[in-house]
């Protein structure tokens, strides 16, 4: 662990801290309708869609609107991917995407997962990339923000179960937040050397005299929203490890900052919506504590390296001429600390972009990204989904605290009763049930085992990671699993749909139920949600729920693999 590594982590942390308040206040203005610099375009879109922006939807209508929008856009994407061979903007003359991959890709991008079982540069036409995948990068991120805003309104106000207007939130988030920020970031990426064109691929002769095809495409524009919307799907198969997608240390830094910017700022937005900015900062602190812990563990594991390599005389100690540790699967230009930081950032959020191959991480180094996803990606988290995942944990924390003192729990003046806990439990159970059941089935079914390239605990880790990533809507891969089969494409596509919508529905229901409640005045028995004690209890609840749920499966995968590694064995 080097000084340069610590400087990178601390500089990144400071940047996230600095951006939280101004962006959070801006988002507050976006979603309360006081940000109006694109008003004519916004009004035109409402007229075009026949939307009444003043229509305050009940939570059931809000949820139905979100579901119908997602269903329609997913089916359209499926159609375009299947027909891309006869559609324009296809200079490479790619054929239609296979039905199983079109389903998985459409589901994956609709749900903000962006799991890819194909190489983008050799499968998707520019039309598919620019009109479908990029559209979902914006729309799925904006939908996640809608759900978070709806829950926040439910907590903040009393409105008979009404949570705002889904279509208004969708348009405002896209117009005022994601579009301008992604244009700015795309320009920064282009300045750093990320390519942006619609040209034919180029064939060049390398220094060794070998002919090589260099893929071209509109990368910078895709890259910007991929990070800002915590989408993660790379234009290139190598994702952010590709020099055309992530050419410099500065583009790498901007990428990570873009992933965390909106989820971090949402804590400030939420704090101000509920008239308790200190509660927003308490959430930020809990998230940052978990983030820093994850980075340190991953970095330490990777910096320590592989003991089997060391026993064979490989120098794993860092020096001026040797990065040391475990450099397998990592870009030399990024090194160990940055690769660990990127891996934790991308799995804390629901992004899934990678600048190093997670399959090559040490067992403990790979365990942390997997746990980050299994905790529900609430450590800053996906845009919107991070905040609502964390608020579910807050409801449970307040409930447990209430049980400790024998009072009806309250959260920001709203009583937490049976139906709120029922919705929280539906949310908490749906994720692990899907991950564990599908992982268990794939570990025994011939179709599941056919895709596993590694035997023993690492093979189990690959299956477990894949279903954690797809159900958790992350999209990153251990990359040791052959996922381009009918079985896995269908299972992963289904997992992404369940992981997104089976969780959003109880979130909106919880918001609706809270919005029906009459606020009660705070009393001496109210559990304060702005103190260090609350932060400690919240972090503990998150870790305990995660540990109780996933520890048995993790023990059979990365934990066993770790002990095998330190005893010098390879399965």
């Amino acid at each position: 662990m080097t000084v340069a590594g610590w400087v990178q982590i601390l500089f990144f942390s400071a940047a996230v801290l600095v951006i939280t308040k101004p962006l959070g206040i801006y988002m507050l203005r976006v979603y309360d309708g006081s940000c109006m610099w694109l008003r004519p375009l916004e009004q035109w879109l409402y007229r075009l869609g026949g939307v009444d922006p003043a229509d305050d939807q009940h939570w059931t209508r809000y949820a139905a609107s979100l579901l119908l929008f997602s269903a329609a856009s997913m089916l359209l994407t499926y159609l375009v991917l299947r027909l891309q061979g006869v559609l324009p903007l296809n200079p490479q003359h790619f054929g239609g995407v296979a039905d199983r991959q079109a389903f998985e890709t459409a589901a994956s991008f609709t749900t903000n997962t962006n799991w890819q079982s194909y190489a983008g540069e050799s499968t998707m036409s520019y039309l598919s990339q620019m009109t479908q995948l990029a559209f979902h990068n914006f729309a799925s991120a904006a939908s996640g923000m809608c759900a978070a805003m709806a829950l926040a309104r439910g907590i903040a106000r009393r409105s008979g179960g009404r949570l705002g207007n889904f279509w208004t939130d969708l348009v405002r988030g896209t117009l005022y937040l994601f579009l301008p920020l992604s244009v700015l970031l795309a320009l920064l990426f282009v300045q750093q050397g990320v390519i942006q064109n619609v040209a034919h691929n180029i064939t060049v002769t390398t220094l060794e005299g070998v002919r090589q095809t260099l893929a071209m495409g509109p990368v910078a524009s895709q890259e910007a929203i991929k990070q800002l919307g915590t989408n993660g799907g790379g234009f290139f198969n190598a994702n952010a490890a590709h020099p055309f997608e992530n050419p410099t240390p500065l583009s790498d830094f901007f990428s990570m900052l873009a992933i965390f910017a909106i989820p971090a700022a949402l804590t400030c937005t939420f704090g101000r919506m509920v008239k308790s900015p200190r509660h927003g900062w308490a959430l930020w602190t809990a998230m940052y504590t978990l983030f820093l812990g994850g980075v340190v563990i991953t970095w330490a594991a990777e910096a320590r390296g592989n003991p089997i390599h060391a026993s064979h005389g490989v120098d794993v100690v860092a020096s001026d001429f040797n990065p040391g540790g475990n450099m397998e699967g990592k870009e030399v230009r990024f090194g160990i600390a940055n690769s660990a930081l990127y891996a934790v950032v991308t799995t804390d959020a629901s992004c899934g972009a990678v600048n190093a191959m997670l399959d090559s991480f040490t067992p403990l180094g790979g365990l942390v990204p997997m746990v980050n996803i299994q905790l529900g990606e609430l450590i800053f988290g996906g845009v919107g989904s991070g905040l609502y995942g964390m608020l579910i944990m807050v409801v449970l924390t307040v409930f447990i605290a209430g049980l400790m003192v024998g009072r009806t729990p309250e959260y920001l003046g709203k009583k937490i009763q049976a139906r709120e806990i029922q919705m929280a439990m539906l949310y908490v159970l749906a994720l692990p049930a899907t991950i564990l059941l599908l992982s268990a089935a794939s570990s025994v079914l011939p179709a599941g085992l056919a895709g596993v390239h590694n035997r023993g605990p690492h093979g189990l880790s690959e299956i477990l990671y894949a279903f954690s990533s797809t159900t958790g809507n992350n999209g990153s891969a251990f990359a040791g699993l052959a996922g381009a089969t009918y079985y896995y494409n269908t299972a992963f596509g289904t997992a992404t749909l369940i992981g997104r919508f089976a969780l959003i529905v109880p979130v909106l229901a919880l918001g609706g139920f809270l919005a029906e409640k009459q606020p009660v005045a705070q009393s001496a028995g109210t559990f304060p949600v702005t103190t260090p004690l609350f932060v400690i209890l919240l972090v503990s609840v998150i870790l305990i729920i995660g540990a109780l749920t996933f520890f048995p499966a993790l023990a059979l995968g990365p934990v066993v693999e770790h002990y095998l590694l330190i005893s010098g064995q390879i399965v």
């Binding site: 089916l75 239609g96 529905v505």
Partner: protein
């Protein structure tokens, strides 16, 4: 079966048969994936109704107690 419904059924069968047997066009997978997607979202809408009902029942119980 009414005449119109019979015609409709025959037309659908022929259209489906054409789509599934013409090279490069739709496959049985398309039918299954599209139908599966629609069924999934219909189930999610039912889930919304179920949650709303659960909420009403739980509220009634807490008000009674």
């Amino acid at each position: 079966m009414p005449h119109g419904a019979c015609f409709h059924a025959v037309f659908m069968r022929e259209a489906l048969s054409f789509a599934l047997t013409t090279p490069g066009s739709a496959s049985m997978g398309d039918v299954l994936y599209v139908t599966g997607t629609i069924v999934f979202f219909v189930l999610m809408l039912a889930y919304v109704r179920g949650c709303a009902r659960l909420g009403r029942d739980a509220r009634d119980e807490s008000e009674l107690s």
